[in-house]
């Protein structure tokens, strides 16, 4: 366990020091949420109704923002080669990197979601539900994004390609997340359970896909 803990600590330190892994994501999230009323107009009922969808789309884009460097930085400085020489399997290393990324860059977004939702005139209950669904759904977005990041690790400007690859795969999480948060016909429990299942499935399978992509990219 000690090597993986050391990796987690390093990822944290790099993200904190490089300036802004965490804060830039949160500011991007704020900007996205803040420009929505300008586009949609000052109709508070409309904003409140669209609130969960807006917050989810903003969270999805902010998640992708930081992910493109997840493996690219390691590929450039040679760390990616050496992960193969460590005792823990590459799959475990990928999972720890994703966990570190989620705690340092995504968790702050979720924490500020109730605050930003106020700008969309949302009530307490939809705000709480949206925060809860983001908590359950962003691990899926992170893990799916990590597959895109691994596939584009060795490309110079892979960020855009990664977004194109990843966004369609994020649609199921988006559907169930927004459905659970806005409490439509399906209620809360069913879509939330589906969302949690997508997250758990991604956590269990995405590390293998990432590791396979990284092994290919090394050649």
């Amino acid at each position: 366990m000690k090597p993986l803990l050391a990796l987690f600590v390093r990822e944290w330190r790099v993200a904190r020091r490089i300036g802004g892994g965490a804060s830039v994501g949160a500011v991007f999230f704020l900007i996205l949420v803040a420009i929505m009323p300008f586009a949609l107009g000052p109709d508070l009922r409309l904003l409140a109704r669209l609130g969960p969808a807006i917050l989810w789309i903003a969270a999805l884009l902010s998640t992708l923002l930081g992910l493109d460097r997840l493996f690219q930085a390691d590929s450039e400085d040679g760390s990616l080669d050496l992960y193969g020489h460590a005792a823990p399997p590459l799959e475990a290393i990928v999972l720890v990197k994703c966990a570190a990324h989620w705690t340092v860059s995504i968790l702050p977004l979720i924490v500020v979601t109730p605050l930003f939702g106020l700008m969309l005139a949302m009530d307490a209950r939809p705000l709480g539900l949206t925060t809860l669904t983001l908590l359950a759904g962003t691990p899926a977005l992170t893990m799916i994004g990590a597959i895109g990041a691994a596939l584009t690790a060795s490309l110079r400007r892979g960020g855009l390609l990664m977004a194109v690859l990843v966004l369609p795969l994020a649609i199921p999480a988006l559907i169930f997340g927004v459905a659970a948060a806005s409490g439509g016909d399906a209620g809360f429990a069913t879509p939330f359970a589906a969302l949690a299942a997508i997250s758990l499935f991604s956590i269990a399978t995405a590390p293998f896909a990432c590791a396979a992509a990284i092994r290919l990219a090394r050649e």
């Binding site: 390093r10 330190r13 790099v14 760390s79 050649e219």
Partner: protein, 203 residues
Amino acid sequence: MRLVAENLTLERGGRRLIAGLSFAIAAGEALIVTGPNGAGKSSLLRGLAGLLPFSGGRARLEGDAAALTMAEQTHYLGHADSLKGALTARENLRFWAALLGGGALSEIDALRRLGLPHVADFPVQALSAGQKRRVGLARLLVAARPLWLIDEPTTALDAGAQELFAEAMRQHLSGGGLIVAATHAPLGLESARTIRLAGGAPV
């Protein structure tokens, strides 16, 4: 412990770089790979490090620690130094020691051996190219692994640092280690054998 390579064949981008290369080195021996640019020196080292598949033949480590895979007994130092610029030299080395197994010098002792103890707490991005390379070389000293695969290790090093690293390599060999190095410059290893790649077939 012995490193045995049998009939290695390596192809890159449709060219056959290495065909039918065989060699064996025993504990305490070094092998220097030379050859013109593009002859396949780096590719050979990456192949031995398990980062590139050989299209034929195989390389293996024979010896006492049979429970460990070859990758777990290998240090690979490529053209990149595998350092994070935002972290200090000490933090970088501590991380690699934890991930690669440790069991060797402390971070500060490793830096001292390469003449750099005074930069231990500087962010690596503030160091010069030669200093970064030396911190990268110090990684070989903080985790105990018998096989060193080193690619142009002395790039950007000044004469004094080259001598310090030569001394570190001699100590590694006298402790029963193995070294395969690709280089153009002499490394200061008198006893080392040399193979020359000619981009096609080994001569």
